[in-house]
């Protein structure tokens, strides 16, 4: 099994002083060591090791069915919801191995947010979708809710398109919009790391470019792991690439 981390010759950089500082001296936000996953007898991947630096983007490339989505689900332990999965190895986040049993999983999942391969919107309004997690994880006044709603939607580059229909059903949005809505929903919970599973696979070139721009902006503030099929896209966006 090949398990190479490419350090690209000229990674695209976000030119803030803050970020440079972080990049140079800081320790990784997430360190994965010898991670293996199997479903009963069926081994999906074995001995995977990589790390994610703060304010950077790690691309994950690999053929379909290789286990990319499964890998993402390990990183915030959503994989625990599939009872037949077996995970070994270690994932260090904030100095702790999150594969240990005493971790507060709900907290972990709010700190490592995920946007699924297919957008899953809740059958309710756009506003309620965005605040779905956030307003239950902490107590927010109406005013704070409104502010969070706007900032999350702005960060997901959706605000201008939906600002007049915040109380309409989210089901009426197009798929690309739904995908960004899911991103906004994750951003609203204020995670440290965002896991993105092929966020542009269902989109046309133009919308895909828009989302790429968006991700470049987000990269300054979050650690991002991006699963994609698109080699070019990975080169454009990512600081490091992991092939599995």
């Amino acid at each position: 099994m090949e398990n190479i981390i490419d350090i690209l010759p000229a990674p695209r950089k976000c030119m803030t002083e803050l970020r440079k500082e972080k990049l140079n001296g800081s320790t990784p936000m997430l360190e994965v060591n010898e991670l293996s996953v199997s479903f009963e007898e069926n081994i999906i991947f074995e001995g995977l090791s990589f790390h994610l630096k703060p304010a950077s983007m790690l691309g994950i490339l690999g053929p379909s069915g290789r286990g990319k989505s499964t890998l993402l689900r390990c990183l915030n332990r959503l994989i625990d919801l599939s009872p037949n999965a077996k995970v070994t190895g270690s994932i260090r986040f904030r100095g702790k191995n999150i594969l240990e049993s005493k971790v507060d999983l709900d907290r972990l999942r709010s700190e490592i947010g995920i946007v699924f391969q297919q957008p899953v919107v809740f059958p309710t309004t756009i506003a309620k979708n965005v605040l779905f997690g956030a307003k239950r994880l902490q107590r927010l006044s109406r005013h704070e809710q409104a502010r969070l709603l706007e900032s999350a939607l702005r960060d997901a580059a959706l605000w201008d398109q939906v600002k007049d229909r915040l109380h309409e059903s989210a089901n009426r949005l197009s798929v690309g919009q739904q995908q960004r809505l899911c991103l906004a929903r994750t951003l609203a919970t204020q995670p440290d790391i965002i896991l993105l599973d092929e966020p542009t696979s269902a989109l046309d070139k133009k919308t895909a470019r828009e989302i790429e721009q968006l991700l470049l902006r987000l990269k300054c503030r979050y650690g991002i792991i991006l699963v994609t099929h698109d080699e070019e896209q990975a080169r454009r966006l990512c600081d490091e690439i992991l092939r599995i």
């Binding site: 239950r136 994880l137 902490q138 107590r139």
Partner: protein, 289 residues
């Protein structure tokens, strides 16, 4: 922040506590009911009870003719339900294939029939068979009424089974230019029987415990043996027996007899349900292989 934490913890531990409590109540309730029926009834459960006729208005003796009567009703019910359910099932699966409106009408009609209160079957049967046809109380009328009552259960099971088959199987068999009887015998029955039979047992389990439909139409409390004709040929039946005994439950011997009858009835119902369940499980297993 602490408010949120407290509230979230309340949800996290409160909801499952309530749900577990409710689920256990439901399960314990059924276990309690079954054990009451068993503990109260098993004293009466001896060969004599099943084989003897009842005496002294049910206070002593057994329930021979009640069992026989219920079996007669069950057989008649099956005989009435099978052709009707076959017709409905075949129509639903083949003729209505292209008309979703009619399909909805048939499905809706079946659901309506399924949620009809059983007393209405009894009242209509009384009007039609007992009075209009002048049959008096008759086992045949009881069987027909019960048969109609379980048609939705049987035909839905039949239809669902046929629809779960690979679609081309029935179609292909149709192309052979067989005669109608051959089609029935070589297509519908061999492919559909498991659904039909499991639905039938489910329906019969329900029919044999019903009192209301046979109240006016078929059942009497005493004075009937084997029915010899159709007109004025009532039968004894287990549920009706319990029904009457429950109304004068002050004699302790009669009470014991009623519990014994209840146990026999429950065992019969469970056995029929068991057959239906096993068949359905077999089917389910079969589909994946």
């Amino acid at each position: 922040m602490t408010y949120t934490r407290t509230f979230r913890n309340l949800v996290k531990y409160g909801v499952p506590a309530v749900c577990w409590a409710a689920g256990l109540i439901a399960v314990l309730l059924i276990l309690a009911l079954l054990s009451v029926i068993f503990l109260k009834g098993y004293h009466s459960l001896e060969p004599g009870f099943v084989l003897e006729e009842s005496r002294e208005a049910g206070a002593s003796g057994g329930i021979r003719y009640q069992i026989i009567g219920t079996l007669i009703l069950v057989l008649t019910t099956a005989a009435a339900a099978i052709p009707v359910s076959l017709a409905i099932g075949i129509t639903r699966v083949s003729v209505l294939k292209h008309s979703s409106l009619l399909r909805h009408v048939v499905d809706g009609g079946l659901q309506m029939l399924n949620s009809m209160p059983s007393i209405l079957f009894g009242v209509l049967g009384f009007m039609l068979f007992t009075q209009h046809f002048g049959w008096g109380k008759s086992w045949l009328a009881g069987g027909i009424i019960l048969g109609l009552m379980i048609v939705p259960i049987v035909s839905l099971a039949f239809v669902n089974h046929l629809l779960s088959l690979p679609p081309n199987r029935l179609e292909a068999a149709y192309g052979l230019g067989l005669s109608p009887q051959q089609v029935l015998v070589s297509v519908w029955l061999p492919h559909g029987w498991p659904g039909l039979v499991s639905g039938l047992f489910l329906g019969l389990a329900r029919a044999m415990g019903e009192t209301a439909p046979i109240l006016f139409v078929a059942a009497v409390f005493s004075g009937a043996g084997m029915p010899l004709g159709i007109t004025d040929s009532p039968v004894l039946a287990l549920p009706y027996h319990i029904f009457v005994m429950a109304q004068d439950s002050f004699d302790s011997r009669a009470q014991a007899n009623a519990w014994g009858t209840a146990l026999v009835l429950v065992m019969l119902v469970l056995a029929f349900n068991g057959v239906a369940y096993t068949l359905r499980m077999k089917l389910h297993y079969g589909e994946h292989h």
